[in-house]
Point group: C2
Amino acid sequence: MEAIKSFELSKEYLELLRESIEEAHIPFIQESMQDAKKADIASLLDELDMEEALFVLRALDPDFSADILIELDEDSQYKVITAMPAEELATLIDHMDSDDAVDVLNQLVVNDREAVISHLEQKEKSLYIIELLRYDEDSAGGLMAKEIIKANLNWTVVQTIEEIRRQAENVEKIFSIYVVDNKEKLLGRVALKKLILAGSDTKVADLYEDNIISVPTYMEGEEVAEIMRKYDLEAVPVVNVKNKLVGRITVDDILDLIREQAEEDIQAMTGFSDDVEESDSVYRLSRARLPWLFIGMVGGLMGAGFIGFFEEGLSAVTALAFFIPLITATGGNVGIQSSTLVVQSLANKSVFEDSLTKRFFKVLLVAVFNGLVLAGFVLLTVVFLYGQETKFGLVVAIALFSVVLLASFMGTLTPIVLDKMGINPAMASGPFITTANDLLGLGVYFAVATLLLNL
Amino acid sequence: MEAIKSFELSKEYLELLRESIEEAHIPFIQESMQDAKKADIASLLDELDMEEALFVLRALDPDFSADILIELDEDSQYKVITAMPAEELATLIDHMDSDDAVDVLNQLVVNDREAVISHLEQKEKSLYIIELLRYDEDSAGGLMAKEIIKANLNWTVVQTIEEIRRQAENVEKIFSIYVVDNKEKLLGRVALKKLILAGSDTKVADLYEDNIISVPTYMEGEEVAEIMRKYDLEAVPVVNVKNKLVGRITVDDILDLIREQAEEDIQAMTGFSDDVEESDSVYRLSRARLPWLFIGMVGGLMGAGFIGFFEEGLSAVTALAFFIPLITATGGNVGIQSSTLVVQSLANKSVFEDSLTKRFFKVLLVAVFNGLVLAGFVLLTVVFLYGQETKFGLVVAIALFSVVLLASFMGTLTPIVLDKMGINPAMASGPFITTANDLLGLGVYFAVATLLLNL
């Protein structure tokens, strides 16, 4: 234990930490961690088993442990909080902001949750928590913290600074003071900078900015994120239906949300049935991947059955089989490109959007152009490079062109329909649609062949 | 012009605005827009043509126009700034933060850029800009703004507040005051909240927090974003190699960066050669899609040539053709799943990562498990449902199992290799790899068939 004296995010320190946990060497843990960042300690605890992590959390100051607990990854956090007695967890929750407290409590079953709440020492905090638990986790209400600094319109700067002093411990990050009337209705905000530069007797009424953006409790988190990004907000006040100020959302929560959603979208696109990471167990990884692989496989088997109908034709013109992968792959690629484009424009909806008719007309133009280029190239290759008959080349080219057209429409329409049904449109690029496109491609290919080659 | 008096993000207002531009009715533009958000006006101007947008920007106060210009989308911004005389653009740039100024100037060719800089009125701003132009656009240096509030370690609170007053106009959002020594080296920060609550004579030395996070100028933007997310920072100071404070990055710039990168990743995954939106022109959309479709098609044609080698075998056992789509689709799906997982874990690198050997062993386990389940199911279906011989069923099942294994490794290895080569690993899920997987699948399938069926 000589070399490393203070916290490091390294394998060596992790080893040392394990040793000191085993030897119950609490001073080393406390001293080495005192200047460390909570997020770094959390990354380290994620590597420990539950008993070890619990030992570290108990060795540290509850205020610090509470911060670390919030930063743990979901699995570690769940293990630790379910292993803690209700009273101990309540002590930590007493040191959290209400939004973080609710995130933690939401992982417990209702009975355990109530047991913890009943042990909370701060009356105000437990009221906050009970209120926040009512909201949907992904709504503005579920994201907001109750801890804010409010100033009445009639206060002076001195009174407002007094309020900041009173709340300084509860509200860690203060960006602005929200201004309300006597009925707690949100009127505007005063930036901290303005407060510092104003004279002590200045009235809040003369300082505040009234034309500010707020969000209602029921707004979806994703929309809140987009508003904060668009208007460059570091925090946004949340109001209820009566425009009463009820909380605020800060940008750090939004950053986490954006990252989670980007990952979920990509996983939805690539066919995971569950949110997984490379570090998850083999069983969990396999289970998350199998359902979509299965759908893809059933599609493949249906395709086999379908091609089976054309067995005679295939025996007569074996070359038909050669171009099956070309047809299905092109259909898949075109479909994914189309759906990606629509998914992205669904995520950034604008009031000035083109009508559906206009959008489909554009899809048609792009598809016809790309289809003609590809089909032309294929026709030349099949006839001149592969020495097939022109008629056969035409079959492949016409099928390819039709597949490009159909896959463009499928790829465009599916996310729009899914979105209207309230399903994440990113799934439209997943194996389900790829599989449907494969079958569609095969259908078109053999239909064209049957017609043109009189099979 | 009766109905709508003030700004609205609506088609009706857009019509009204067009009319007033045509009639050069400047008061309407000024009055209706005075309470509007800059981002909303920018969304509206994005719908206008260049001449109209320019008219609106000229009608408004330069300070406001500068803010709107920054928020325009890339295409509109480019059109407007290239149409403006250098002197006029310089007036707007004089009203921008240095980071935004550089983003705008980076779009101009060197000569135009220098012409604009030579017209800047603020000496300090032009020095800032010239310094920032040296940095790579995607590095911390390229993202940072030079406008910050610095306090010397030996100052008092009163002196610091005086500095805030002096800089209040230049620094719009103040979250903390950065503390430096006499050589401008970064020592720490004082949160604005602390400054408000401290007595006027308190020394900065007694107030500041020394254990803070800073980033070097050369750090990549993506990494800066991850640090700000992980440590919940609303702003981060940027230092040069000598630890001298040179600027700061605020979270609003990071939000834009994260969004752009998520979109680029998804487009790389789905095979666009260029960053496009649904609203782009038919020509641009087609051009961005064609290159990858072409690669996919060339792959398909190579696949056709490859299957052609087995023409005799295919004539003998036509049923072989039935299962081609099953093999290629499964390979594609497995490959995309694997690469997605690796791409996500590459984006969240950790010091406690498993070794490559351990990761590949895990990939192997998952692949064997999934492969066995899928192959078993296929064997039963092919033999009992489709009434093929057991030996033939085994060919399909063994090929499928091998494809799952190979595609898992390809999908895992490719992003790792691309990442090591400095190429965006998200491309590993693109059509290029899907195509390679298709060919691989066909190879395995026909190899197994040749061996087992003695073709």
